[in-house]
């Protein structure tokens, strides 16, 4: 099987699985995979409670072979994640506060202040408990034996955690015996951790029993299913903008028993749409006056407004220095090497080997405005070269990564190596930073493909973190 180290031996964390598979009937994985599909289809009825039955959202392929991470490796990863997310929080507090890291020359001022995700409205503000990014998703890749690199930070409204939870539930149904042979750390506690974390971040006035809600743009949003899933697991109301209103700088929810005060909003709406009186006036999903209530300290927004300035691709390149500046130590998790095209030397180098690099637009996401050198035609590369020369500030470049692989059930019923990435979820509150032991593993199901996006043939796996 794959899941091997460079030298061809089975990675230690996969040994029990490998032994188990050897003694299992040959078509076991295929039959369990079919079973999973059946389960998902049947649960589809249950899932459909949340979303639209016609939507294909839940039909993202699920691979029954778990991604397994050993205890020692995870502990190091967890330390790295805590360090990184703590630094991001400190960075946000500083950017919207004293701006020491700018004065010290750690990040260029113009990169921050002309960044569309820097929100001037937040300058000089402190969210309750000084917590900015309550929920973070950090995208990691393994490029070799020696641990993980960070590909991207997600500190606005990271999604995908519902897959982490559902995939685990599915695996426990399918392979109870396999669970018995491993000591796997539970991820099911995530929603309890999240609830505790959000409650601890409530404004002081809320006392011991703050009122929480999950705010969604509505059923037409592609992540609506996850919004309702989380509201359900948290045991709180799933609200749309129209369910809330602000009076006298206090946020209320419209209920059949009259207006009910809201203290914490786990919002899955982007900054720009939160309040038509402050941001986009055409927002139909926001709450007029919400920012007034927020500024008055009467409500917690999770994540805080303006966190996007920290997960911007251009700011990403400064993250190792930011971590050093705020944590006082070297980063435990490194970045993928990145050229900042805004720097003339880097630009020169990038232009000299465009055909080997991945070039990304700083403000782009979801694979838009991106050049994958090795997969592009000469004409595409030349087109991009012109864009790059015209606006070098708008781009960064990275080497084409040799992503690590994990064993995956292939179409022939055997196991084949497929490229994977990993998004663990990190929670921050005044009580500290916690990492759910697991995450969302995305897998490129096509042989050799590096693209893990579900829209382009990607699937998901359960991620096991071993306890010993």
């Amino acid at each position: 099987m794959s899941g091997t180290t460079g030298s061809g031996t089975v990675r230690k964390s996969y040994r029990t699985l490998a032994r188990w598979l050897e003694s299992a009937p040959p078509d076991l994985l295929q039959s369990r995979s079919r079973q999973a599909e059946l389960f998902f289809r049947r649960m589809g009825v249950t899932f459909a409670v949340y979303g639209d039955v016609e939507s294909n959202e839940r039909l993202i392929p699920f691979d029954v072979v778990p991604r397994i991470i050993g205890a020692a490796e995870w502990n190091e990863l967890e330390r790295g994640l805590k360090q990184r997310v703590s630094a991001i929080n400190a960075f946000l507090k500083d950017i919207y506060g004293a701006q020491e890291c700018i004065k010290a020359g750690i990040v260029p001022a113009d990169l921050i202040f002309t960044n569309p995700h820097y929100r001037p409205e937040m300058q000089g503000r402190r969210p309750p408990g000084d917590i900015w990014t309550h929920i973070s998703g950090v995208d990691l890749v393994r490029t070799g034996e020696d641990g993980f690199l960070v590909l991207e930070d997600n500190v606005r409204t990271p999604s995908g955690v519902s897959y982490m939870l559902e995939n685990r539930e599915m695996m426990m149904r399918l392979f109870p015996d396999l669970f018995a042979e491993h000591r796997i750390r539970p991820v099911e506690t995530y929603t309890d951790m999240l609830l505790a974390s959000l409650r601890a971040s409530a404004p002081a006035h809320a006392g011991s029993d703050p009122k929480l809600v999950v705010l969604t743009p509505g059923p037409f949003n592609s992540a609506y299913y996850e919004h309702s899933f989380l509201a359900d697991k948290l045991g709180v109301e799933l609200v749309e903008g129209g369910d809330l209103f602000v009076n006298d700088d206090i946020v209320f929810m419209r209920t059949t028993e009259g207006p009910q005060r809201v203290d914490v909003i786990y919002r899955r709406i982007d900054d720009e749409f939160l309040d038509p009186l402050t941001f986009r006036p055409d927002s139909a999903v926001g709450i007029p006056g919400l920012m007034s209530a927020y500024m008055a300290g009467n409500v917690t927004l999770s994540n805080a407004v303006g966190t996007g300035v920290a997960d911007d691709k251009a700011v990403y390149t400064y993250m190792p220095d930011i971590i050093r500046f705020f944590s006082g130590g070297d980063p435990i998790l490194g970045n993928v090497p990145t050229w900042r095209c805004r720097e003339p030397e880097a630009l020169k180098e990038v232009l000299s080997k465009l055909d080997q690099l991945v070039v990304k637009e700083v403000g782009g996401s979801g694979g838009y405005g991106m050049l994958v050198g090795p997969a592009s035609t000469k004409a595409e590369i030349e087109d991009f070269r012109a864009k790059l020369i015209a606006d070098p500030d708008d781009f960064i470049a990275q080497p084409t990564l040799a992503l690590s692989t994990a064993p995956t059930l292939d179409s022939g019923g055997g196991l084949s190596p497929r490229h994977v990435d990993l998004r663990p979820f990190v929670l921050s509150s005044p009580r500290g930073v916690q990492v759910a032991p697991g995450g969302l593993t995305r897998v490129a199901l096509k042989p050799g493909s590096l693209v893990v996006n579900s829209s382009q043939g990607g699937g998901t796996k359960d991620t096991w973190v071993l306890d010993d």
Partner: protein
């Protein structure tokens, strides 16, 4: 509960009830139009169906003339009629879908099944196909009622769903009765004549009450007794008094759950008291039509009190 959730449940109840009512009106019209009678009887039957559905204005404005084809099409599935059977089922489903977590799987399946079933049936033009279409719709409302009463928790979600149904049903029964009294009999037909008699029995059939009538009154069909049955009889589940009783009981459940009574409870109770103090002779004395008009406007008033108290 979020006001939006309550509102969606309430309207799911109303739309499902209304779809059933429209199916019953159309069924009656098909039956009446088939009756051998003087010229104009059929046309009157179709015009009355439009009037009972409360869409005369919109129908006339759409430049249609009432005949079997136009009325069947308009009330069942015309895209320009926002309260056709199809539109009602679609609206019920849209409302239900937005509050899926508040519904049981069985209830959702009943509503979604109605929507899918209608889509499969298409827009039948042949009379026997059309009658099957109407039977399907009536079956849908039984499935809906059954699923809600057998599977839903008796909490505010259930009360709002039922409340919507009861408000709509009261409105529908009142309108049905009024149309029979004032529109149905073509000029030249004798009150108490054969057509008149047939119309009354059809009306009873429409509300599944022909047998009930005979059980209760043990007499041949007489207009004032039909009115008594449909207005005041508390045993008759579609009577105005029964609907009012249901509305009061659902509002009381809500008041108990929430620990607070409001204008909706006060208005509803006062109306129920009036029913208890009224008899059919008094109603006829002062005019059934006037009585029904007052009832309809009070019913609307109660609906907006419910809206203001709970749904915004």
């Amino acid at each position: 509960m979020l006001s939006r959730t309550a509102e969606s449940l309430y309207w799911t109840g109303r739309y499902m009830e209304r779809a059933d009512f429209l199916a019953r009106i159309l069924e009656a019209a098909v039956r009446l139009a088939a009756l051998p009678a003087r010229d104009g009887a059929a046309a009157t039957a179709w015009a009355s169906a439009i009037a009972s559905a409360g869409v005369s204005g919109a129908f006339a404005a759409s430049a249609r003339t009432p005949n079997e084809k136009s009325v069947r099409e308009y009330l069942a599935f015309a895209p320009d009629n926002m309260s056709s059977i199809k539109a009602c089922i679609t609206s019920a489903r849209t409302n239900a879908r937005s509050v899926r977590t508040a519904l049981t799987i069985e209830l959702w399946e009943a509503i979604n099944g109605a929507y899918n079933g209608l889509a499969e049936l298409g827009e039948p033009t042949r009379r026997d196909d059309f009658v099957r279409y109407l039977e399907f719709v009536k079956g849908v409302s039984l499935a809906f009622e059954g699923a809600s009463s057998r599977t839903m928790l008796r909490n505010d979600a259930y009360w709002f769903l039922r409340l919507g149904g009861a408000i709509e049903r009261a409105d529908n029964t009142a309108r049905l009765l009024d149309v029979k009294y004032h529109l149905l009999l073509p000029a030249g037909e004798r009150v108490g004549g054969q057509l008149d008699y047939f119309q009354w029995t059809t009306l009873l059939r429409e509300v599944s009450a022909l047998t009930a009538y005979r059980w209760v009154y043990r007499e041949s069909v007489r207009p004032w007794l039909v009115a008594d049955l449909l207005v005041l009889n508390r045993q008759m589940p579609r009577s105005l008094a029964s609907c009012q009783g249901m509305i009061v009981s659902y509002l009381d459940k809500l008041a108990t759950d929430y620990g607070r009574r409001g204008p909706a409870q006060r208005i509803a109770s006062a109306r129920l008291t009036q029913f208890n103090e009224t008899n059919i002779e008094d109603i006829f004395q002062s005019g059934l039509h006037e009585y029904i008009l007052t009832f309809l406007s009070e019913n609307n008033g109660l609906a907006s009190a419910i809206h203001d108290q709970y749904l915004v």
